[in-house]
Amino acid sequence: MTLRRPLIALCLSLWTTAGFASEPGQAVNPAPTPKDWAAIAALPDWSGVWVPDVVDQFRKVNTNAPPWNSKAAQEASALTAAEQAGHPKGLFVDCLPDGLPALMLIAHNPLEFVFSPGRVLVLGESDGDRQRRIYTDGRGHPADPDPTFYGHSIGHWEGDTLVVDTVGVLPETYVAVSESVGVANNGDLHVVERLHLTAPDTLTDDLTITAPHELTAPWKTSRIFYRHRERQYEIGEGVCLQGKFAESVDSHGDAVFIPLQYAADGSPLPPKP
């Protein structure tokens, strides 16, 4: 026992030094300098909470629909018909994140932008603490990024416009026009965004969405967000799965979450006291 512990420590030490921490050429993020922080101060002021113009989301779709290919058009048409018949398919019913590009296109909850040396964070709420990380440190995309809901984003400033380039998005994320009409991007999605103020408290996201398996051409569209500075507008926690539970107390007197029960029609039943 007394021998084994130093041996484990030695092995761990060799593994660490030989394999990872000191690997030559491994990229590191240097500590930000005062100059880096000063550069943040020179960026446009995007503080506050940005509420999407939800009515404009529908207006844009009605006047500038995605250029679906024939397969996607059929799927979108069937989903629209189901919605109009009162039997919508929910695209986001499983509590998985909206992902890109849906978050920027159809979300009903606001966003917050946090500038930091080397990155811009986009934070949100509602379906699971939305979080986009946009690297502005000059790096490129990885050669083969792990696909994720919000992909791998790199950005740079062109004047007061943040240009964001995103790849590496999971093929399952929807090119969505509403919460019940959208088609999976099915891979090779590429989203370019130009985010900029179009009025003192209006942020516009000009998007170019390339989804070669679903769209016949890049879809150029835009979305509008309005700034609020009232504290009651601040982004809150948004754990989607919490909605499937109620708070209760177990036999030990401990606070616990208990799963909600559902009626045959899918309606959640009131939790038992």
């Binding site: 379906d127 019940s180 109620a246």
Partner: protein
Amino acid sequence: MRRQTAALILALSAASAAPPTAEAHHSFAMYDQTRTVTLKGAIKTFLWSNPHVVIWLEGAPITGGAPSVWTIELTSPGNLTRIGWSRTSLKPGDAVEMQILPLRDGQQGGAFKAAKLLATGQVLEANWVQQSQTGAHP
């Protein structure tokens, strides 16, 4: 044009409320946008939770019917907080008159439209979409 916008806002309000189903993030389409049902009864449970707040109301339509439990959903706690709600806006036992957009299929559920607390006369509404539309800045 104004009527169209009003109708859209109403529809979106319903969308924000989500239907009483087990699933989050629904479209509004299962609600009958052309009808409002007014219920009278008492709050059984007010579940202040993401992604959609749920009210269970024990009561009946004011036009008649046997009392039962109605499931009414709203938008998220965040969106409701932004228009002045809190997790204590409704409490179990509160007597209310509540307007809902009913489910098309006749089930006892709907999307929240407005509620009047009978003890105080306070009216609660949940039209957060209209507020976001105005871009109301301080």
